[in-house]
């Protein structure tokens, strides 16, 4: 009954994924999807685990792998394993709604995993900035459940054609003095965060569309500004005072003067009751 119930709920999603997986037929992930359609959770778990370990999956596929592992483990009553998989799924896809296709009593591990993330201050993420003095790239990695193992960064100085690359163990704070970036205030970069199997957890930028970091400032522009009004501290002080005054006036106007005749927007809430 339990298995049938799961199969009922999951069939629409599985049908879509199964058709999409035609392009990668015979891959462990495709095998896992097929086993899932056949409601064979032992095989689903086996193939999904093999897909995970073969590595090389982008974040969306990796999230699906963890979803398959989580549902299979939940069904096979390995609740700790299911929760661990769902934690990883939610790290990669925070808006996952797997619980909607699970039977009410099979939702526990997923909801616990969601509760864990709801209580976290940080999520899986990465921030890159550039030192305006040295041109060093500074990478800050946030990884509350320690999924990341390696970080691959490729960077390119302004006007340079080729990227230079480094790969290093994942750490909360990393710094890289990339060749050619010395003294630069901005750069293009591509960054990938990999797990222990070489699957991609995070991907920023691509060959076709690299991400940029820092501020593009031409030398001529800097010289022009040094002699302009913007270089004067008085300009910024006066501007600051004017802006602060304007903001105060707007707030006063909105909070005090306009409250009485502001348009009213009604939001209708409903209530369900139970009787007999």
């Amino acid at each position: 009954m339990h298995l049938l119930r799961l199969a009922h709920g999951l069939l629409p999603a599985v049908a879509i994924l199964a058709s999409a997986s035609g392009a990668v037929a015979q891959s462990p992930l495709a095998d896992a999807e097929r086993s899932y359609v056949a409601v064979d959770f032992d095989a689903t778990l086996r193939h999904a685990t093999r897909a995970l370990e073969e590595g090389g999956h982008p974040p969306n596929e990796l999230a699906r792998i963890y979803e398959l592992i989580g549902v299979a483990k939940e069904t096979l009553r390995d609740y700790d394993g299911a929760k661990a998989a769902f934690l990883r799924l939610l790290a990669l896809r925070p808006d996952a709604r797997t619980h909607e296709v699970l039977a009410p009593t099979a939702r526990g591990s997923f909801l616990e995993a969601r509760g864990f993330w709801a209580a976290q201050q940080e999520r899986l993420g990465v921030r890159v900035d550039i030192s305006s003095e040295t041109g060093a790239l500074r990478i800050s990695l946030s990884d509350p459940i320690q999924m990341a193992r390696r970080v691959v960064i490729r960077a390119r100085a302004p006007n340079a054609r080729a990227f230079v690359q480094t790969e290093r163990p994942a750490a909360r704070n990393m710094s890289w003095n990339a060749p050619g970036l010395e003294g630069q205030t901005w750069a293009s970069y591509i960054l990938r965060v990999l797990d222990e199997h070489g699957n991609t957890l995070l991907e920023i930028g691509s060959e076709e569309s690299p991400e940029t970091v820092g501020q593009r400032r031409g030398r001529g522009e800097e010289e022009e500004e040094s002699g302009s009004i913007f270089a004067s501290p008085w300009f910024w002080i006066v501007t600051g005072v004017v802006v602060a005054g304007a903001v105060s006036a707007i707030l006063y106007w909105q909070l005090v003067v306009e409250q009485e005749d502001a348009p009213v927007q009604e939001v209708l809430v409903g209530r369900v009751r139970l009787g007999w």
Binding site: P263, E266, V267
Partner: protein, 210 residues
Amino acid sequence: MTGRFRASVMCLLFASCIAAGCEKDPVIVMKEAPAITFRLPNDRMFRFSASIQVTVHQPGADWISNCFLLKQQATNMSFTEEPLLDLGVQPICDVRRDGLVIPEVLPGPRAYVVQIWGPTDRVFGTGCQVVDLAQKAAAGEETQIDVGATPVYTTLAGSSDPACANEAEKCDLELSCAPVPVGGRDAGTDSGPPAGDGGSADAGAEDGGA
């Protein structure tokens, strides 16, 4: 970018900010629509049941057959289309005591579907009706949707009674309401609508029965 051009952009942004600030923000007023009451056939089904799940769906062109299909899907524990709103599986005693809030009533006619869950993931009852709650709110009318028993429940109720005697024992004292052989304690009857018959007196929108 020249300094003069940048100054012009800044002035423009500043003026935009002031203009935007002068727009009046609407005052949001929460208004509660008249309640939807899901009516179980009797308190016996309530005592047997563990949880309740209310979902809101987009109705098709044929409201009656649409509700019929939704109730079939509710009985089979799988909706073919994602609900517009899912209030989640809630303990039945909590809903009986406090009700359940629909955070935002979607305008227009919607199919309101209820599943009554037994303690072992079986659907004991379903109900459905297409209602325009906003219109009902304007008219000040309450909505009642009958819950029909499923075959699973009918079989169970025919052969056993809930161990608890009443709502207070189930919800306040938290005594077991596990099925015991017929002839045990019972305070209700099973004369409610049959499975799939969740209609009510609402004009034309209710389910036509299974």
